[in-house]
Symmetry: C3
Subunit: 138 residues, 3 copies
């Protein structure tokens, strides 16, 4: 069994952002030389997500509006977590969008449908944060 | 390490549907001859889900009503994604229900609790769509 | 390839609870002797979750309030699932918080960011329920 590990670093200039990381994850897979297996890609922070969806700016705008409706940032005093922080909503948004994706590796490629793309979802940005890529297989 | 891959195809006659795919996934596991490992089952489309829950029609009705409340289909103009399409809500419903499940394989069986069943969740149906099953182990 | 399996049992004294199970999962990993691989940790019940987030009591209170707003328990008659049961809301809360986590194993450790902790999320407690830990690797 082969195994591979890499951290990807991001620093979104805004509080919230969606960043397409598919190319970077594909580069990890190439580096690993793994042809058949499973690839895990997860946020290492609890106010961020890794998820798979469409690379379409209209949809990303819709997600932003929708998540703000389901888990509003303000007023920050509505959340007990916001004693020294103001990011309780980010912990909720991340649960809806998810922490991680597991992707099949087949013939050395991400085994994806036509429109599947991997995103880093930032909900409390403006600082450096990490994503983990771990691949096992052969 | 053994590995196995199969695509399952579905065409729901309605926009939204929940289809129990447990038997088909079990058949994949039998074909793979894998006795110990991990099984990934994911939607290959970004307006569909694979999730594990109860095979109970009342609950599925409740899910339908609940998802429509959290991410309503209409009015379709409320979403920027709906320029040429009308499925923005499907991209949201899929995030709540999830893209994928990872299931333990033990003694050649899906290692499930009593009520766990795997469902394909369709949120933009009336066309052929795929689910991927990938198994690694020994 | 090595593989390891264990069931963890919980009985929350209340309907809903968040229980930090990180130490127990780490103990499983030690027992497995696996140094590189993937660890799956999932609820074996469909009214419970396993998720990764912060061990902060204010946040857990916020989650409780938030989940109750998105998927209210009462009135129980609003859900068709609640014929003989009263736990339809638990099936919904579990979809938002998720069934499972997959964690990278590196150098015999859970490969976690600073604040990542694993929780059992109970939404229909006051009875014995199980979590599965499955690890594969070498």
């Amino acid at each position: 069994m082969k195994h591979y590990r890499k951290e990807l670093w991001f620093e979104a200039p805004t509080r919230r952002a969606f960043i397409n990381i598919t190319r970077q994850v594909e580069e990890c897979l190439r580096e690993s030389s793994i042809k058949q297996g499973l690839l895990l890609c997860n946020a290492m922070h609890i106010t961020a997500s890794v998820f798979i969806n469409d690379d379409e700016s209209g949809l990303h705008h819709d997600y932003e509006v929708w998540l703000e409706k389901l888990a509003p940032h303000a007023p920050v005093e509505q959340y007990r977590h916001n004693g020294y922080e103001d990011n309780a909503d980010a912990h909720m948004k991340r649960q809806i969008m998810g922490r991680e994706v597991v992707v099949a590796v087949t013939d050395g490629q991400l085994d994806f449908g036509t429109w599947e793309q991997i995103f880093y979802g930032e909900f409390d940005g403006r600082r450096k944060k990490r994503v983990l890529v771990k691949i096992i297989g052969e």
